[in-house]
Amino acid sequence: MLVRVKRDTGSVAALGPADEADLIERCKKLDRTAHEELYHQYRRQVAGNLYRVIGDRTDLEDLVQEVFVIAFRGLERFRGDARLSTWLYRICVNVALGRIRTRKRRPNAISVVDLDAAPADPSLVERPETPDRALERRRDQERVYAALEQLAPKKRIVLYLHEIEGLDLKEIAYLVDSNPVTVRTRLFYARREFYNLIAGQDA
């Protein structure tokens, strides 16, 4: 039984189940317009997911491209057990995991955080931030991503999905293609390691 991950799609307009089924069917028939529609509908969600997991925009376009290529390749096998957005999120997680692993092997090739470059969701910003507050927020995020960088990729993903995205064990297990017990174990050690790192960071 697949679980549904509660996510804001961030797309132009969320599709209803009937529209989504129709879109998937048309994609399976290799309808070009349907492919375009799917891309247009989910591109921001996919980019947002990848961006938040990775923490910087280096190669973000390549990663988005990879997600959609995998999705279009695999649509024929998509059975509709999960929502399309959930399925795409799962692909995002796997692509991000691959990227984090590559980065671990080549640690000098990237910068860690540039989250400040992107605007926060405007609906959540009540009043303009003071420069001090913005700087403080940026430093906090940098610390979080610096600590995440030091975790093993699998631990990092489960920690991110649980602590930041707020997903439960079943949802995470579906996304990382594992079982909830393994996720729980991984999360236990990941949290301990992560918060130890946070506690040990210089202010």
């Binding site: 070009r32 591109r43 470059a117 926060a120 174990t185 946070i198 506690a199």
Partner: protein, 486 residues
């Protein structure tokens, strides 16, 4: 009270700790500066989670990403399709059937070799601006049959195309270069007449499919393509014209072309990634320009005429044809020195030297097919025969044997001793240790590395020690990765 573990402060922040324990922790933080500092840091990190969660992706070059996605997907799909079906889309509808002419091909003696090859793309010097230099076209690639002036040339690569020549194709296509980054490709079952072909005016008359890529021209240079009652004025760079009995279609990938009725003054401009289809019985101005789909743009990109990287007389004199052949009627996409050049069998003009050829496999991946040495000015074309895809090698039986020995040789008692403490906490279920191990012919283990685990390092080291104690007998050499699930 002992110091509070940092992750417990996160639990407190998340509201997972209530009652007496919460009170005790808060009281402890008041008395313990170290824990107070830890709590502050954890709280700040936890506060920033919400900001991160609501972070939006930066704006990307969405169109570029979309184009790359569709390019990749459609290329893969094409590779899976049979060769005959691989070129479809709206362009197929306009191709004129002229297969009958292919049966009339006869040998034609090679014409005299022109010594000067003046590309149109080179800007004439001020003193030479009014001088008209005849252009010469060289064939860079051929697939299928070809006729020049009604005769089949013995070696098309020795032919020099000039004004007045007429080219006709059978079921393949021919690519002709006439300047630096200036070339045209005549599609299957098509006919092209070079009415004027000099540095000032190029005038082509086409029936069938013509793809053109032309370098920017200087003022005063004209390039027109006539297709039935239509005239296409070229203003740059890559476009395609398909003229059939019932309609004329013009599609532009880069730059701009203008389409007008023959003798007409008003014209319709077709910009980049646009197309115009004009039925035979209607004037140009009644038809609207439409946007090309990604598939159509991809199709145009794939049809780009092949050009030589260097275009000067000396270099071209040393170039030579290379035949890439396949057994039977099979057709496979090939890459030459990493550049896709179409489906073999084909003949292509190359520079002298060693060239690597890759051919696509049934899974759509390019695999090295071999290399070939091309000698400057060789009379006979160099030839490379592609061989059928070799059968996959059977699974490494050495690894299977060594893996079985590892499985049976693990001391389960020692392994249980390692994991006992973790098992009591219920943390072992689902955990794993991934290792990379090598065993030589004598049964020695040159290396055993723990690649990844979700267990603490101490526990992983203990398990690794148990694995190192496994004794292997003499046998095959093997290196492999193994995941030990606990």
């Amino acid at each position: 009270m002992k110091h509070v573990a940092p992750h417990r402060w996160a639990d407190l922040w998340a509201g997972r700790i209530e009652g007496a324990e919460r009170t005790a922790m808060e009281a402890h933080a008041k008395d313990c500066p170290q824990c107070a500092q830890t709590r502050a840091r954890v709280t700040r990190a936890s506060d920033s989670f919400a900001t991160i969660k609501n972070q939006q992706a930066p704006d990307l070059a969405w169109d570029s990403v979309r184009a790359k996605v569709h390019w990749t997907v459609s290329t893969e799909r094409r590779a899976k399709l049979p060769a005959a079906a691989s070129r479809g889309g709206w362009l197929a509808a306009g191709v004129v059937a002229a297969a009958a002419v292919a049966t009339m091909f006869v040998d034609r003696p090679a014409p005299t070799v022109a010594k000067v090859i003046e590309p149109i793309a080179i800007t004439p010097k001020p003193s030479e601006r009014d001088a008209v230099t005849p252009l010469t076209g060289l064939i860079n690639r051929t697939t299928g049959g070809l006729m020049i002036d009604g005769l089949r040339p013995a070696d098309p690569f020795r032919s020099r195309l000039r004004a007045g020549d007429v080219i006709a194709t059978g079921d393949g296509r021919v690519d002709v270069q006439f300047g630096d980054r200036s070339a045209f490709a005549l599609g299957p079952h098509s006919r092209l007449e070079l009415v004027r072909f000099d540095s000032q005016v190029i005038e082509l008359v086409v029936e069938g499919t013509l793809d053109v890529e032309v370098a920017p021209r200087t003022a005063g240079q004209r390039f027109t393509v006539r297709a039935g009652l239509r005239e296409i004025e070229v203003r740059g760079t890559q476009f395609r014209v398909i003229h059939a009995s019932n309609q004329t279609a013009v599609a532009c990938r880069h730059g701009l072309v203008a389409v007008r009725d023959a003798g007409g003054l008003r014209e319709r401009e077709v910009g980049a990634a646009r197309r115009l289809v004009v039925p035979a019985d209607r004037p140009v101005l009644t038809e609207a320009v439409a946007v090309l789909s990604i598939d159509e743009v991809t199709d145009l990109a794939e049809a780009t005429p092949l050009t030589m990287p260097v275009w000067d007389t000396g270099t071209l004199a040393s170039s030579a044809p290379l035949d890439i052949q396949l057994p039977g009627n099979e057709r496979r996409a090939v890459r030459l020195d990493g550049v896709e050049i179409g489906e073999a069998p084909l003949r292509v003009r190359v520079m002298p030297g060693r060239h690597t050829v890759e051919a696509i496999d049934p899974h759509g991946r390019y695999r090295r097919a071999g290399w070939v040495d091309v000698v400057a000015g060789a009379k006979q074309p160099a030839r490379l025969d592609l061989h059928p895809e070799p059968a996959r090698t059977p699974a490494n039986t050495g690894i299977l044997a060594r893996r079985a020995q590892l499985e049976t040789g693990i001391d389960r008692g020692k392994l249980a001793a390692c994991t006992r403490a973790a098992a009591k906490q219920g943390l072992v279920g689902g955990a794993y240790v991934q290792i990379e191990i090598s065993v030589d012919a004598q049964g020695n283990v040159p290396f055993l590395n723990v690649l990844e685990t979700d267990l603490p390092r101490k526990l992983a080291d203990c398990i690794s020690g148990v694995l190192r104690d496994v004794r292997f007998v003499a046998g095959p050499t093997a290196t492999w990765r193994e995941q030990i699930d606990l």
